[in-house]
């Protein structure tokens, strides 16, 4: 490139045609001479698991009306401490057009009521400390990160998003505006991680995220800065839970390092499921298939060992069943229908031992036995949720 051509191009910028192969070598560049227009990272970017709301081991799309449980994997319900009632939350197939999403979560208010001072209404996601460690919360090295998500609400106005540490003594409330009712909109919020407070960077709660649909005044504050205290809601923000029949949809949630909201990172179903199984694992073999193998132990039970497909976050402390003993069988040389649902013996992050129970089974201690499914609805599930 000649100097005259260089000068001639100043007005228009340098185009690819101006640069021939190998004219700009590494040796010609000083450190920092070439910088990206933005700070972001290539490759796996999203710190959120199941941000597209697709994996639903818990409910398989069924509606939930209970506070403090999971609606889909990794996403929890909050619908308590106010006078709103009849709230349901469930996976939906209503999604933004052309964005590659299959599912969202929809929060529907039955009968609206005041959220008062202590109300807690919203959708919650907790990120494990190991995952947010690269953001260096609680240090002078705290990094900038960007949240992006798609929302659709029947009520326009300003909404809050609460971010909180595990100790619930450091909080940030972000704010976004929904301008058109019942219309999908993408929202982006860029935040610099907190430089103060104690933040978990191991397998505990690294970052608690709360989409505010009605937080009471006690836990609400103004937006835009990290504060001491426990805040999840936006003072003056829309309290969706106070409006009968209101709906709020959410999908495509992403948190990434840097100041740019890149397109949502779609990953394979199998990858997403495996990420979710670190926190909750449901095994549901077809009728007649085995859950696991073990031995007869005692006159009424057994010790059946089952392996988890991925290492769980921590050791589960209970097992979830269908609640129907007849869905389960204990087998040695014949199938014995259980007289109570399988019960928890122990678990590690890698496996669990479960007793398939049959009162007075008459089997010999130490014999090899199998835990068996006796119906298409039979399952066992373990939780290591945050």
């Amino acid at each position: 490139m000649t100097r005259s051509r260089d000068i001639a191009n100043l007005g228009d910028g340098v185009t690819a045609a101006d640069i021939t192969d190998a004219t700009i070598t590494a040796a010609k560049m000083a450190d920092g001479a070439v910088e990206g227009a933005f700070t972001t990272q290539i490759g796996r970017r999203n710190l959120i698991i199941n941000g597209e709301m697709r994996i639903d081991q818990y409910n398989n799309g069924a509606s939930i009306s209970t506070h403090g449980v999971k609606v889909v994997d990794r996403w929890g319900t909050a619908l308590t401490n106010g006078s709103a009632s009849g709230i349901t939350v469930q996976r939906s197939t209503t999604v933004p057009t052309g964005q590659g999403f299959v599912n969202s979560v929809v929060y529907t208010v039955g009968t609206g009521g005041s959220v008062g001072t202590g109300g807690s209404y919203g959708i919650q996601h907790r990120v494990e400390g190991y995952s947010v460690a690269p953001l260096h919360f609680g240090s002078a090295e705290a990094k900038q990160f960007t949240m992006s998500f798609w929302v659709r609400s029947s009520i326009t106005g300003n909404y809050g998003i609460g971010l909180r540490n595990s100790a619930k003594d450091r909080s940030y409330v972000g704010e976004y505006t929904i301008s058109s009712a019942n219309t999908w909109e993408k929202k982006t919020i860029t935040i610099t991680a907190d430089t103060s407070g104690t933040w978990v960077e191991d397998n505990g709660i690294g970052l608690d995220i709360f989409f505010d649909l009605g937080v009471g005044s006690t836990n609400s504050t103004t937006s835009g800065s990290w504060q001491a205290g426990n805040y999840l809601g936006l003072t003056g923000g829309v309290k969706l839970a106070e409006t009968t029949g209101a709906t709020f949809y959410l999908t495509g949630v992403q948190i990434e390092v840097g100041s740019v909201a890149t397109p949502f990172e779609h990953i394979s179903y199998g990858e997403s499921l495996a990420l979710c199984q670190r926190y909750y694992y449901k095994q549901h073999p077809p009728s007649g298939h085995f859950f696991g193998v073990g031995n007869i132990d005692g006159s009424n039970g057994s010790q059946i060992r089952l392996f988890f497909p991925v290492e769980m976050r921590t050791s589960p402390t209970s097992v979830e069943t269908t609640g129907t003993a007849g869905n389960y069988q204990l087998r040695v040389n014949g199938n014995l229908t259980c007289t109570s649902v399988p019960s928890f013996i122990n678990a590690s992050p890698w496996d669990s031992t479960i007793s398939f129970n049959k009162t007075s089974h008459g089997l010999t201690n130490g014999y090899c036995g199998f835990g068996r499914s006796a119906g298409s609805e039979a399952y066992l599930a373990w939780s290591a949720e945050l």
Binding site: T317, S318, S343, F344
Partner: protein, 63 residues
């Protein structure tokens, strides 16, 4: 939610097995069960009260 003891394993490191709400069975460290224990400490079912008194089940302080 209600709980009752359906089995007790005496293997090393294994504690009382407790059956709850028809869906969940748990040992004493289960968070939901511990909350239930605290909420109902003054009116526990006899089988669970016995386990508390003989020391095989501990009611832990809230987080």
């Amino acid at each position: 939610m209600s709980y009752s003891i359906v089995n007790t394993h005496t293997d090393e490191g294994v504690t009382t097995v407790i059956y709850g709400d028809g869906k969940r069975s748990c040992i004493g460290i289960d968070k939901e069960f511990q909350q239930w224990l605290r909420d109902n400490a003054d009116n526990l079912p006899a089988d669970i009260q016995a386990k508390v008194e003989d020391g095989t089940l501990t009611i832990e302080d809230a987080d």
